[in-house]
Point group: C2
Chain length 491, copies 2
């Protein structure tokens, strides 16, 4: 019997939660807003992390590790940063517990109060730039291209597994450069890396763009982003790359001797993606039967289930399948043979469907006699009888085909859901009845953007890179506008 799942139509939010919980990706924890990433979810994250890490290293970056804690005063050093991040934080005020003198367990020792409170990092610009001060003296020390894989904490009031949790895992790149041009190039390079990763590995198409001032990272000169579209028509910011100008160098007094022997402030970037990407992955591809995972990052790419009656046929099937498993592993395919006696084939089918394993192979005695297996695709649910001869090659190609199909399907959906609106009514109507991205004119002011958000909950997701200039009138204020921007309701 399969685990019951809520359908998308019945309750999209509940469908999402069902997939995360019943698909074995994550669980709630005893700590408010913090999740447990379960083994299957973590294996998925490992595949994503390892691929991203390769891409970072291929673009010249190295990893390092900086402290979990940030002295409170550091957050105040960059004016915009403090507004954005010194709000909902986990604050460490004491460093010792002691036995309760009244005998009620343990209590905080009032004598162990920190002179200065420590903040659990919500992001690490401040502690890192405070360190870079000691590492950078001359142009010879630049560029500094460092990435960190870490946990961060932002005390969110309303949390959702993967999408918004108090603690989450991420990577944060922090680079230092001798010129503004180099730093901007780095910002764009990493945006491209993110876009390639999300499209080629997660099979989720993205739009690259620049954020409006309102949506900019606290402390950035420019925030670049990639925006993806979920099946419910809401957008999701999948990654950001910030050009920080000299803001943090000035806040932490990081200067270098340039080639002309003059002191100059260093130019900075930072960029990050997080376990939130798993939320995007789920909502981009999955269906009412469960998760649908792209082969390139799926923890398990192929599962093989034997179908037999009586104990005589099992060893025969086992022997044959073990050969197949070996041939699949030779091609680097992540395969599992599930011949456990605990559950029946039907239950296993439903379970692996729920877990989004891209290909399911079934083999019964008659298949074996005919030298075939039944191959079922998770994405299209097609089933086919396939010869055992050359099966590994066939499945290897099929995995690539599924990867492509998932991307194409998501791309068609995304493209069908970018619509133009040329009046306020049209804009509101599209938002309420269609969702998706709306391409509309905006007068460029923060006020108007804020007003639109208040009225509709839609935000400017980005000004797409290479946007075509087009004279028009702002959807709300009617003032002159020089280009359309992309609006959407978003996660």
């Amino acid at each position: 019997m399969s685990k019951e799942l809520t359908s998308r139509e019945t309750d999209y939010a509940q469908w999402y939660n069902d997939l995360v919980l019943k698909g074995g990706l994550a669980d709630y924890s005893a700590v408010r807003g913090c999740m447990v990433i379960k083994p299957y979810g973590f294996a998925l994250w490992e595949n994503m992390r390892d691929q991203l890490d390769r891409m970072f290293k291929d673009t010249g970056h190295v990893n390092a590790y900086f402290p979990l804690f940030i002295p409170k005063s550091f957050l105040s050093k960059e004016a915009a940063h403090v507004e954005g991040f010194a709000k909902e934080c986990a604050v460490v005020t004491h460093y010792r517990l002691k036995n309760d003198p009244d005998g009620n367990g343990i209590v905080v020792d009032p004598d162990a109060k920190l002179e200065e409170e420590l903040i659990v990092r919500p992001t690490s610009e401040t502690i890192i730039w405070n360190t870079y001060k000691d590492w950078i003296q001359s142009y010879r020390d630049l560029p500094l291209l460092i990435n960190q894989w870490a946990n961060v904490v932002r005390w969110e009031m309303r949390t959702r597994l993967f999408l918004r949790t108090a603690e989450f895992l991420w990577q944060e790149g922090h680079t230092a450069h001798a010129t503004a041009l180099e730093a901007v190039e780095e910002t764009e390079r990493m945006l491209d890396v993110y876009a390639s990763f999300v499209e080629e590995y997660m099979a989720v198409p993205v739009i690259k763009g620049v954020k409006s001032a309102n949506e900019r990272f606290a402390g950035a000169v420019d925030t670049y982003c990639i925006e993806a579209l979920m099946q419910d028509g809401k957008a999701l910011q999948a990654g950001t790359s910030h050009f920080l100008g000299q803001n943090f160098a000035k806040a932490f007094e990081v200067q270098f001797l340039n080639k002309e022997n003059k002191q100059e402030y260093v130019w900075a970037t930072s960029w990050g993606v997080s376990t939130r990407l798993i939320g995007a992955l789920i909502m981009a591809h999955s269906d009412d039967q469960g998760l649908v995972l792209p082969p390139r990052i799926a923890p398990l790419q192929v599962v093989i289930v034997p179908i037999y009656k009586g104990n005589d046929s099992k060893p025969v099937i086992d022997a044959r399948v073990n050969e197949i498993v070996k041939s699949l592993k030779t091609l680097g395919i992540r395969v599992k043979y599930d011949n456990s006696d605990n559950s029946r084939p039907g239950w296993k089918f439903a379970e692996y469907e729920l877990q989004g394993v891209p290909i399911r192979v079934a083999m019964g005695m008659r298949d074996l006699e005919n030298n075939v297996v039944e191959v079922a695709r998770r994405d299209t649910k097609e089933k086919k009888s396939v010869a055992i001869d050359g099966l590994a090659q066939h499945l290897s190609q099929l995995l690539e085909e599924i990867q492509q199909n998932l991307f194409n399907r998501a791309l068609v959906f995304r493209n069908e859901n970018i619509r133009k609106a040329d009046s306020w009514d049209e804009f509101v109507n599209l938002l309420d009845n269609k969702g998706g991205f709306i391409s509309a004119h905006w007068d460029g002011s923060s006020e108007t953007e804020e007003k639109i958000k208040e009225l509709t909950k839609a935000t400017i997701r980005c000004i797409p890179l290479g946007n075509v200039k087009e004279v028009g009138n702002c959807i709300l204020s009617g003032k002159q506008s020089e280009q359309r921007v992309l609006f959407a309701r978003a996660y």
Copy 2:
């Protein structure tokens, strides 16, 4: 000009710090007791982590991730655990900052006090067993073989880079089993994994043993450990594996339905190694010229430095070395060609010696003409002229030879520094004048052990596995003893 290093004889502690800081492994941070792991140090940790991770997966374990925070009350649930860990902790008491009404930056918002304080995990038994409660119902859910790579915080008063820091990186395995026997087997299996890793990859010989009650993990029934010997004659605990009995299952009410359909408490283990291993690595092999890293985990295995006068010869050497680099990479050797103009060969030699790169290759014009290079080993400092033909194969073998040599050297040193003491005077004399491990009789009581520690700062490092029973008299109390145990002063 090389960076100046303190010699071991002058000041061993300062020598260690010089190597960590000037060798580019780690740095102090602005947060008391927390270190920054620099890119070179982190690359070393990545190699260690990746290898351990492979060994964990090969023994059937999977990774997951549990919350950073532990509710204060959880620490009190296991009686011994609370004594050991609910002391020097980072305590989160508030979840919000706000602008100081007096205009002095930001302050903790008194309205945002947590109902129950959260402790930054010093170890995760409690939060994990609280989660396992929901994951384990039947014997079919067992064993649960989970590992986590994470940061932990223990508020240490005196800290030393890698050896003892407030925050450190580690892995913690937490497994659940249906029987005591299975759990003990797991405890021993993971001790063996640690011993193999430390000996085969870090080239550090270890003694496997069991801790005395005093040195046991807080909440364990038995703590197994591997103990290594540093060059200054002090011991270092390199890893521990704990048989936790049913202690945590009882504290968190984790029962399962066994095959006889009866509720039973689950049996547990936990095991961990940390970035502390890097401290052990440094102190086991390095010398007065800098780090000495074992090839199997060295971030860089071979560095090639060109030697030329005038700009004419450089492109010729570059071309030839690039071919060599390619052939080395084909064999999977981690190689760097440093042809930067910033510094002279002598400076580079000293720098890579400091960084402990196992093999340095130098090539000048005359070498090129003779179709040879100069190969220098970091471990023995031998230099040899080697033919370019077959160089990659030669270096590949040499790396293995260096790996073996480091282990053998450390093993000889370790074995020479295990001595028997049969009287108190002899014991104290050996401790003060020779150091190393001292094999001596002990009456088995915690009191005597405590007394010996007070008098000499030596602790029982372990009761070696497979220890020979031998009747004797306790070194301090003179009472009867059934076996010798290993004492040492330790890190």
